[in-house]
């Protein structure tokens, strides 16, 4: 059969979406919204894990979904780090300035705090970094 011989009604019928096409289109729309929100829109941005680097350059990856208290050894003594309800912070530090404690809770992916004298740093990790860098 040549192309010119296809009746118009048949072409229109072929383009009409089937119930299966409609289901897939709906699923695709939902998936696109979820992917856009998750990866591009910047909505959310909560960190999922944190990277703790100690004075010896040891690197620990910890989950923010499990509440816990960690002690990290440094040249001045112990830095104590608390994880609670998806957030992380320094709670005790042997340094004088306590800048690390003043930094407060961290939860946004990409945010970080450090105790420079004790050489311990905390960085919140996450697939969805709302910001590439934080100015402060």
């Amino acid at each position: 059969m040549t192309e010119a011989a296809i009746p118009f009604r048949s072409i229109a019928g072929a383009l009409r979406p089937t119930p299966g096409d409609i289901v897939i289109a709906l699923l695709a729309t939902v998936l696109l919204v979820v992917l856009y929100t998750h990866y591009w829109s910047g909505i959310g941005g909560e960190g999922e894990r944190a990277r703790i680097v100690s004075a010896d350059d040891d690197v620990y990856i910890v989950s923010l979904s499990e509440d816990s208290t960690l002690t990290v050894h440094g040249p001045l003594g112990d830095s104590v780090i608390e994880i609670h309800q998806g957030r992380i912070r320094f709670t005790e530090s042997p340094c004088q300035g306590k800048q690390c404690i003043h930094a407060g809770w961290l939860h946004t992916a990409g945010s970080f705090a450090a105790c420079l004298p004790n050489r311990v740093s905390v960085t919140v990790l996450g697939r969805n970094r709302h910001f590439d860098s934080i100015n402060y």
Binding site: A28, Y39, L116
Partner: protein
Amino acid sequence: MSRGLLLALVLLVSACGQREAQVHDTQLLVFGTLVNVSIWGGDKDTAVAATSAVEQRLVQMHRDLHAWQPGPLTRINHAITARKSVQLDSEQALLIRRGTELSRQSGGLFNPGIGSLIGLWGFHSDDGPHGPPPGDALIQIQLAKTPRMSDLHIKDGRLHSDNPAVQLDFGGFAKGYAVDEAIRTLREHHVDNAIVNAGGDLRVIGRHGGRPWRIGIRDPKNSGVIASVEVAGDESVFTSGDYERYFEYQGRRYHHIIDPRSGYPAMGSSSVTILSKEAIVADAAATALFVAGPEAWQTTAMAMGIDQAMLIDDQGRVYMTPSMAARVHFEIDPPPPVQIVSP
């Protein structure tokens, strides 16, 4: 139709999965702060080599520019105190000339020659000051000596000071210079898309792939982000805030930005954010506008050639230049009221 949709979704998921993998992120504990180097694109070996070169340069500058640990800068300060001339290397001469010019533009509100005053407040300490604040009589004695950058003269590479009270402390712009040097080092290693963030102050080159870099600006009163700005090309974002270094004594907070006119921590400002190409200029201007305060910051901005500035005062009120207001997006709801003031 179905196969086309599925193919599009597969491609979309693949693209999303690769997005963050193209950023090489490295943290360095160097220059007395936490430095984050983010490089977009390129191969890992190039990023590692470039970041390593940045680290070496920052270690060197930290040693050379330190205001209180014995080194090249303290030797210069000792010579000034002893009323002797001293030979400068090219970097020292450059910094003193830039510092003098920036101080002149700021009307003396940015003054890298008040090292003695800063030391008197206890900020010449790796561990931060602990108080109590110095007595007023000691502060007035330092002020009466009127140390100014214009007291310094460089001739044939040698520095001479008319005033032995000048003590150089590059803390107000050394970080900016270091960030500029770090970016220059990255470019020497053929890195064209990157952020160097040193303790919260940063310079950006290029882009994050197909979009500008997204920078969050911290809320001076909370740990969250108050605003954001998109930057691309070559631009620095620097903030001076009263929350960075401070001590508390008898319930009162004393921060590290000393007003050269009063000898006390500057009053009225909580933070100042500057957008400018050169980090050294942004750094000095952030300090100068902070000292100028809510009443006079726009005059100082104009004198220093700054057209993108934001000041948050100690009551949380936000002031911006029109150029800054056009770029800043608030991340808090509701956004704070903003007074837009032409410089």
